[in-house]
């Protein structure tokens, strides 16, 4: 219509320049009629319900002497890893239609799309043991079933088949990364304090296990009263506190903080000032410094110690008890507990002690981020940086919760008779903690997804407290 009117007007016009302009306008208007239109409708689709991703993991193929057994075990560990995550839901093997899968051939996608199977992802793998040198190679492919494409493929080779379990965790991490965009956490270990039921609650031994509970063993046979182990986020070192005989006062005990290298077995007393007690130590993200609480004369403040030179900096200087510091993943901020308000609450401060803008307004060297009637303890900054986990006592319960670093969005993930000591998985998606189900019950380790789903008991040989989740283990296998 516009073009037509313009042309009509053009026919009556006298000015050649105006005629020309009108002609151009008319042409543009007609062109506009035939140009592909922009979308006429915009529909926002909000994922309302969380649904785990269905994933199918048939047994890996095997090639070589002894490979079949390892392939079956490796497939089983892989399935358990993925199933333990809130992200995935395993497709029952009995529902599989295509059972003659070959690693070298694409699957029949429709067989994996049908109702009853409805797998979004399919993993096909192969275990090869080389008879010449006993090397083991694990290959796998990840298929996007509805996209009908191979999404990812990788191969690991290790010197001995004995490492099959770690390879299973490694494959699980790769799949997790491909399907979630986050790093995995299956190829990691956890240190905790192992307790013997019925024993003095103060007594406890340092122990370590894979994150799935396998390969549990004690560390440091000589120490029997260990508390608060903390894994380094970068390597296999831990900090821990231990009650040891006080040389000055026979019969009394003294709390010391130790730095222990799990791989070399070497350990050293980290900090011990005259007339002071150090506790609640935790590594900085780069593993080069630690933050801890130092009690002098009944008052606790936060200190940072650089490990290489043992230089110390005092970060808080307050009459209140400041304790349980934890670094942000960029190392620039620290969250800690202080009772400078009414009861223990969470505060944040800069690592250099400088003033900062507080989330609730104003400038100060420390900013309170919780304003709750409960009592907050054990804050731990997420490796992802977006949340701070804590334990909270209030309303007759102990809870594990998370809060954003500006104090917003507090969510309680679990509560029970006594839930405490949260620790993050290396990718910041899962929180492990200690739970005492009732009076007189022994403490156990549990885990919960950041979303509050997938509350699971973590297997430990005995009672367990104070879990601390280590970083992903380094890849030793040749990777292609």
């Amino acid at each position: 219509m516009t073009a037509r009117k313009t042309l009509i007007a053009l026919k009556n016009g006298k000015d050649p320049m105006r005629q020309f302009k009108s002609f151009v306008i008319a042409i543009a208007a007609m062109m506009g009629m035939i140009t592909p239109a922009a979308a006429q409708l915009r529909v926002t689709v909000v994922g309302e319900e969380y649904v785990p991703m269905r994933i199918a993991v048939p047994d890996f193929e095997a090639d070589g002497a002894g490979a079949a057994e390892i392939a079956a075990q490796l497939s089983d560990v892989l399935r358990k890893d993925l199933a333990s995550s809130a992200v995935f839901e395993l497709v029952d093997k009995a529902a599989f239609i295509e059972r003659d899968l070959s690693f070298d051939m694409a699957p029949r996608y429709p067989d994996w799309q049908v109702a009853g199977v409805a797998a979004q992802a399919l993993i096909v793998g192969n275990v090869i043991i080389n008879p010449a040198n006993n090397n083991m190679t694990v290959q796998f492919r990840l298929y996007n079933v509805f996209g009908q494409t191979q999404q990812f493929a990788r191969q690991y080779t290790v010197a001995t088949p004995l490492n099959w379990r770690r390879l299973a965790h490694r494959v699980a991490d790769d799949i997790f990364t491909q399907l979630t965009g986050d790093a995995g956490y299956f190829d990691s270990r956890m240190v905790f304090v192992s307790k013997t039921p019925g024993e003095d609650p103060v007594r406890g031994r340092l122990a370590i296990m894979d994150q799935d509970g396998a390969n549990a063993e004690f560390l440091l046979a000589g120490f029997t009263s260990v508390i608060n182990p903390r894994f380094s986020p970068t390597d296999q070192r831990i900090l821990y506190g231990a009650y040891v005989p006080d040389p000055k006062y026979p019969g009394a005990t003294l709390l010391r903080t130790y730095l222990y290298d799990i791989e070399t077995g070497r350990q050293e007393v980290l900090a011990e000032g005259p007339n002071s007690m150090d506790y609640s130590a935790r590594f900085s993200p780069d593993g080069r410094s630690i933050a801890l609480s130092r009690a002098v004369g009944g008052n606790s403040d936060i200190y940072v110690i650089e490990l290489a030179r043992r230089t110390q900096r005092r970060l808080t200087n307050d009459a209140a008890i400041d304790t349980s510091p934890s670094f942000s993943p960029d190392g620039k901020m620290i969250v800690f507990v202080s009772d400078r308000g009414l009861g223990p609450q969470l505060y944040i401060m800069r690592e250099d002690g400088a003033q900062m803008n507080c989330p609730k307004g104003g400038r100060d060297t420390t900013c309170r981020i919780t304003f709750d009637s409960g009592r907050f303890t054990d804050p731990v900054w997420s490796p992802r940086g977006d949340w701070i986990a804590f334990s909270r006592q209030g309303d007759g319960k102990f809870s594990i919760g998370v809060i954003r670093t500006d104090g917003s969005g507090m969510r309680i993930l679990t509560d029970g008779y006594q839930d405490e000591s949260p620790t993050w998985s290396p990718n910041g998606r899962v929180i492990a903690f200690e739970r005492t189900a009732s009076r007189g019950a022994g403490p156990k380790l549990w885990s919960v997804d950041l979303t509050g789903r997938n509350l699971r008991r973590m297997p430990t040989p005995r009672d367990a407290t104070n879990p601390t989740w280590g970083p992903l283990l380094k890849v030793e296998a040749a990777q292609q």
Partner: protein
């Protein structure tokens, strides 16, 4: 006698000359012509913007007819086919009654159009002729609420369009969510920032007419694994629902202008707050 005849003739000639002079002096003199300002006009059917059924245009008044004589002449004089069957009919409710025949008044006879400018560009003239030819011919009378001598076939009112859009939105959204093609992704790192938009178009066999096209972001970011995965999941959601088959209201296929593209914006629940 001769002398008197001479004076009489002279006096008559003087009267005639005076009359001619007076007539010339009192005659209408047009003002000097000014350059014509071309103002593009968008003639719009009222049904495009409101629910109000447009009244079929009455015969233009004399002065309006003079102003639009060419347009009116062109479209009213054209042979007018009946509206075709694909006229949009969105609502289950019965359509409004057609206007009475007598309401549609034929435009009155126009004064003879002014003489066309002789210097018209013949090329432009031919283009104008083409445009006139391409335009669907208007119905002379009924065609209900959406008929008009201006626009010919029935058009959807804005309210109907909105209702249909809402219906289509609900259909698509419900399938993506109820069939669990698209689920919550709030547990992803920094989930509130994640958003992916795909442009889709459906064919009437329940499948996409074309592969969904990623619109926002324009490309999959290489250094942003969470966003990559989010986009991949959105694409998989579309593929999954496409495999299951889309169910769309018939109105979708009548929406204009066709083809009717839809942008699907995928967000996690945390990002929608």
């Amino acid at each position: 006698m001769r002398l008197s005849a001479f004076f009489s003739l002279a006096a008559h000639m003087g009267v005639v000359a005076a009359g001619l002079w007076a007539a010339q002096e009192t005659a209408y003199k047009p003002e000097p012509s000014t350059p014509m300002i071309v103002i593009p006009l968008e003639l719009m059917t009222i049904g495009e913007v409101t629910d109000i059924a447009p009244v079929v245009a009455e015969a233009p008044k004399e002065e309006e007819a003079a102003a639009e004589e060419e347009v009116t002449e062109t479209f009213s004089s054209a042979a007018a086919p009946k509206p075709e069957e694909d006229t949009v009919n969105l609502d289950a409710a019965p359509p409004p009654p057609p206007p009475k025949q007598e309401e549609v008044k034929k435009p009155e006879a126009k004064p003879t159009p002014a003489k066309k400018e002789e210097d018209l560009n013949s090329f432009l003239d031919s283009m104008l002729t083409d445009v006139k030819k391409d335009k669907p011919k208007a119905a002379p009378a009924p065609a209900g609420r959406t008929a008009s001598p201006e626009n010919g076939p029935a058009r959807m009112g804005a309210g109907e369009m909105r209702r249909t859009q809402v219906t289509v939105q609900d259909f698509i959204r419900a399938q993506l969510i109820n069939k669990r093609c698209w689920t919550d992704h709030s547990d992803m790192a920094d989930a509130a920032r994640l958003q992916a938009t795909f442009r889709v178009r459906f064919s009437n066999n329940g499948k996409f007419a074309l592969e969904p096209e990623l619109r926002e972001p324009a490309r999959e970011p290489i250094n942003d694994p969470p966003m990559q995965v989010f986009i991949q999941h959105a694409r998989t959601a579309l593929q999954k629902c496409n495999n299951l088959g889309w169910q769309l209201p018939p109105e979708y296929f009548k929406l204009e202008p066709a083809p009717y593209w839809i942008d699907l914006v995928f967000v996690p629940k945390i990002g929608a707050r």
